[in-house]
């Protein structure tokens, strides 16, 4: 069978729509992952034992099981307990909760890298712990972890393709649907790959820019 990309031209809008959904899931999952990741990181470094233990257990469980299984538990498993999640909710929640574990580890490594004298200097001015965290520690942590964070964003964007398996019509599933109609797997998947590549490249460019910016900065 000869390769024929022309049949895809008509369906490009479907794929672009898929891209939008992919971005939507990824961004929502990242936002969720950031918020929960920050909380988990703070728990992890806190001296309150139960919080620390919870955070460690969470990270352990998430890192030790496949994302696909986690997602299926949310989408196919929870209804059995009477919790019905829409596919979009399950997708964002699953990918977000998964990403949170990795982001929290990135944040924790950043916090650990900050000299303890920074917190002490802030506290010796009378600053409260939360304020010192926000005003003194967080900006320094951000500078350290920005490259790893962008990297995690790329991973999350690619992982969002798994959401196709809980019937979300993001880019991957949009591609699959075209294949059911045309049987043009090679052409469709290569175009899908290209679209992922473009989206990830944008993030890579952003990452290079951020790194450069940090390099020339004063810290």
């Amino acid at each position: 069978m000869k390769l024929d990309y022309s049949i895809i031209i008509d369906r490009i809008p479907n794929l672009l729509w898929g891209c939008l959904v992919t971005l939507e899931i990824s961004l929502a999952a990242l936002a969720l992952g950031m918020v929960i990741g920050i909380v988990l990181a703070l728990f992890r470094i806190s001296s309150v034992k139960p919080l620390k233990a919870f955070s460690m257990a969470y990270i352990w469980a998430v890192r030790g099981t496949p994302l696909l299984v986690q997602l299926f538990i949310l989408y196919f498993g929870l209804p059995q307990l009477g919790v019905e999640l829409s596919s979009m909710t399950a997708g964002i929640l699953g990918i977000g909760l998964n990403t949170a574990a990795y982001i929290s580890e990135i944040i924790r490594s950043g916090i650990i890298a900050i000299d303890s004298g920074q917190m002490e200097a802030a506290e010796s001015l009378g600053m409260s712990y939360p304020k010192a965290m926000i005003r003194i520690i967080a900006p320094q942590v951000m500078r350290i972890i920005a490259p790893s964070l962008v990297n995690q964003f790329i991973i999350t964007l690619k992982n969002s393709s798994i959401a196709s398996l809980v019937t979300i019509t993001e880019l991957m599933r949009a591609g699959n649907q075209i294949i059911y109609a045309t049987f043009r797997s090679f052409e469709v998947y290569t175009v899908v790959a290209l679209l992922y590549l473009i989206m990830c490249s944008a993030l890579m460019v952003l990452s290079k820019y951020v790194e450069k910016k940090l390099d020339t900065d004063n810290v």
């Binding site: 200097a121 506290e123 010796s124 001015l125 005003r135 004063n218």
Partner: protein
């Protein structure tokens, strides 16, 4: 008799099994300058850090003026009133010199920026760094960084300043500029506790010298007494080592 501004009563501090402070007591009058001497590991830093509770105290009491510092709100007030200058400066690297100095007044005390900036500028002038106000710490020499750190502490208008070996991370040629600033503060009547190995500074500035070893105060007295006729063998041998 002038008023006691700080009183430590029987401080005990352990790190795990290691007992670092074994009952340290002394008090400080307003305007008094104390220099703490002692060999490495004797607990000098720990004493300072217990005063503003960067370390938890296992046992013992800290009184600021006449009030025992126990609760968190009192602790915040205590920290606002007691400045600390660290061996390694600990300036905030993501903030300019000026931002470092106004951080405390603006974000802890709630002073309006309009007021804090001229005040910070006057402090920078005092430590001889007016021209560096918009520079980041890493562009400064160690001596300059330490002077900014002193200005940052002064910006809280503290009643007491604690110095933990403020010159020992500095190249020898930069020590003088920091000691000069400290001497000026002393002359202006600042109450100070200084951990240092700078004997000349101790002689010139201290009202009282405390010699610590192994978590206890071995002896204390005027610089004259401690340096010329120390009572204890441990003090004598320490001074011999330090001076030669």
């Amino acid at each position: 008799m002038s008023e006691k501004i700080l009183t430590l009563v029987n401080l005990h501090k352990s790190f795990g099994d290691l007992e670092v402070l074994k009952g340290v007591s002394f008090s400080l009058e307003k305007g008094e300058k104390i220099v703490i001497l002692g060999p490495s590991g004797s607990g000098k830093s720990t004493v300072l850090r217990c005063i503003n509770r960067l370390e938890k105290i296992n046992h013992g009491q800290v009184f600021f003026k006449d009030e025992e510092i126990t609760s968190q709100t009192k602790l915040t007030r205590l920290r606002m009133n007691i400045g600390m200058v660290f061996q390694r400066f600990n300036l905030f690297p993501h903030k300019t010199v000026l931002e470092n100095v106004i951080e405390g007044p603006v974000h802890v005390k709630g002073m309006p920026k309009k007021e804090a900036i001229p005040f910070a500028e006057s402090l920078l002038k005092q430590v001889g760094l007016s021209d560096k106000r918009d520079v980041y710490p890493k562009q400064l020499s160690g001596g300059q960084q330490q002077r900014v750190a002193i200005a940052r502490s002064l910006a809280m208008k503290p009643d007491i300043l604690l110095f933990d070996e403020p010159t020992s991370a500095l190249d020898p040629e930069l020590v003088g500029e920091v000691l000069d600033v400290m001497k000026e503060l002393a002359d202006e009547g600042m109450t100070m506790i200084v951990v240092t190995h700078e004997m000349q500074f101790a002689r010139d500035v201290a009202d009282r010298v405390i010699f610590m070893d192994e978590g206890v105060i071995v002896e204390e007295g005027t610089p004259d007494v401690i340096f010329t006729s120390p009572k204890h063998e441990r003090t004598r041998s320490f001074l011999k080592r330090i001076i030669h």
